[in-house]
């Protein structure tokens, strides 16, 4: 990025990309004393050209690179791609496979929200206890992933036509046990952090994004719902098994950092409910339809698939030209949209330098997703 001009009354601070809290990006801040006048996000440090890479992979090979977009939430990302491939190639998915997909997606969402929660708490100065708790509690989910898919991260478990394997024996009971454990832990988190007056002071009324601005600036996911906009792809356009599942879309009206945190928190509760429902009600049957390893597409087909990832709506738009590889894959990434909102926040609300890390981590940025 070429740096824009600096106005004489402000000082420019370059934050990152080597700073421990900035993540793999650089953020330029124009400050006037303690007040941030302008935020400029210099993204692109982790750009790998995933869209171009996908043009040079067959449809099934493409699952692996696209999963590298968000490591904490690979299931949702991979599902977006796999669903687009299925729509473009006209592949049917058995009912049981859809339910297993929903189960893994919700586990991924909890995993990712836990990470976000830990980081936001860390940014407010509670280093490092809570972040370590959430990291330990993620182990419960990672163990489940390992049992089911063979890998703790980036499991490439979804393939066009279903999932790679059926649930192992006793898995449903283990899911229920994990849900029970996590529910108890989340109550602890809620009591210790969200209802903690010191934590509340650092988060309430900080980085306020109004409902109108959230819509106008194209925010997505918990950032959008934290500003009171009732949008969730899982309900608006049900995919996988979400049409048959019973869950609420969480919104908060305040639009500040605490509201975004609360949205994530309540979403974890909903996800735990969904996990339990799936463990109880999952239908029987096959988990995969036979699909060739090198499926060939029809020319001139396009398919746009939308999924709700932990960070918001992901869109994967595939265009085919009749070959074994996609002609073009356009990825609408959620973090890129939220980063734009973050850039504009200094103009919408009074932002102090000390609050900047909290605001940044309240949008739950994942730069690999932002840069692709």
């Amino acid at each position: 990025m070429t740096e824009p001009e600096i106005k004489p009354e402000v000082m420019r601070i370059s934050w990152g990309p080597q700073h421990p809290m900035s993540g793999q990006t650089r953020i330029l801040i124009d400050v006037d004393g303690e007040i941030v006048r302008r935020i400029i996000a210099d993204i692109g440090f982790t750009h790998r050209g995933i869209e171009k890479i996908l043009e040079n992979r067959t449809f099934i090979q493409g699952i692996v690179p696209i999963e590298r977009m968000v490591m904490a939430d690979t299931a949702n990302i991979a599902l977006g791609y796999v669903q687009a491939v299925e729509e473009a190639l006209g592949i049917e998915v058995p009912e049981r496979a859809k339910w297993i997909r929903s189960l893994i997606c919700e586990m991924g969402r909890i995993n990712s929200h836990l990470y976000a929660f830990g980081l936001q708490v860390e940014c407010t100065g509670y280093f490092p206890a809570v972040f370590l708790w959430t990291t330990v509690d993620r182990e419960v989910l990672l163990d489940l992933f390992e049992k089911l898919t063979g890998a703790r991260w980036s499991y490439s478990f979804f393939i066009p036509g279903g999932v790679r394997a059926d649930l192992p024996e006793g898995f449903r009971d283990e899911v229920k046990r994990a849900v029970k454990y996590l529910r108890r832990r989340f109550q602890d988190y809620w009591d210790a952090m969200v209802e903690n007056p010191l934590f509340e002071m650092r988060n309430r009324g900080v980085g306020v994004l109004s409902r109108e601005d959230a819509i106008r600036l194209g925010a997505t996911g918990p950032v959008l719902r934290g500003s009171g906009v009732d949008m969730d792809v899982r309900r608006d356009e049900p995919y996988a098994a979400y049409g048959d599942l019973d869950f609420k879309v969480i919104t908060e009206r305040e639009g500040d950092c605490l509201a975004r945190l609360k949205v994530r928190f309540h979403e974890i509760e909903q996800s735990l409910n969904i996990m339990e429902q799936i463990a109880d009600e999952i239908p029987g049957g096959p988990v995969r339809t036979k699909v060739s390893l090198f499926p060939r597409s029809k020319p001139g087909v396009e398919a746009l698939s939308r999924v709700e990832t932990a960070r918001g709506e992901l869109g994967v738009h595939i265009f085919t030209d009749g070959g074994m590889k996609p002609y073009r894959v356009k990825i609408n990434s959620p973090t890129l949209r939220n980063m734009y909102v973050f850039e504009r926040l200094a103009e919408l609300d009074r932002v102090l330098v000390a609050d900047l890390p909290v605001i940044l981590y309240s949008i739950d940025p994942w730069y690999l997703d932002c840069d692709r």
Binding site: G44, I215, L217, V229, H317, R328, K330, V341
Partner: protein, 156 residues
């Protein structure tokens, strides 16, 4: 007022604003595609935002049809009430891909247009800050997402 469904929107656009568009189709449920005339794009975009409440910008990206000698810019838009995906498309000649910037209508298209500018070489007239977003500021390697990009001479 009840938000328009996909079919109602397409019917109404075809009936009342056929001079602004090349085509308007419902791909499947929740997916509407409109191809705009390039010279009428700003007018159509303003109409979509103000009259049809497509106030929520989602994303934008381009695709390079090298055989047809054209590029297509796609804007993904949403109405927070009806919540289906509207794809506003415009065809551009490949040798001179120039179009008005939609940041005048949807401010948040800024990042997406910068990306399309550096990846496809599409020139957005009226964009406030058309600089590199993902690629390094001294990038001289051409337009990576174009189909004739070879990637030669980039690595030192």
């Amino acid at each position: 007022m009840q938000a328009r469904s996909e079919e109602e929107l397409v019917e109404e656009l075809k009936r009342e604003h056929s001079d602004l568009l090349v085509e308007a189709v419902v791909h499947r449920s929740k997916r509407v595609s409109i191809v705009a005339k390039r010279e009428k794009l700003l007018e159509l975009a303003r109409l979509l935002r103000d009259k049809y409440s497509f106030t929520h910008p989602v994303s934008a990206g381009a695709i390079d049809y090298i055989k047809e000698g054209k590029m297509q810019m796609i804007y993904y838009l949403m109405n927070p009430e009806s919540r289906f995906m509207l794809m506003l498309r415009v065809d551009l000649p490949r040798d001179n891909p120039k179009m008005p910037s939609m940041t005048q209508i949807w401010e948040a298209m800024s990042f997406h247009e910068r990306e399309a500018w550096e990846m496809f070489g599409i020139d957005f007239e009226g964009h406030p800050n058309l600089t590199h977003l993902l690629l390094p500021p001294d990038w001289r390697g051409g337009y990576p997402l174009r189909k004739d990009f070879k990637g030669e001479g980039i690595a030192p």
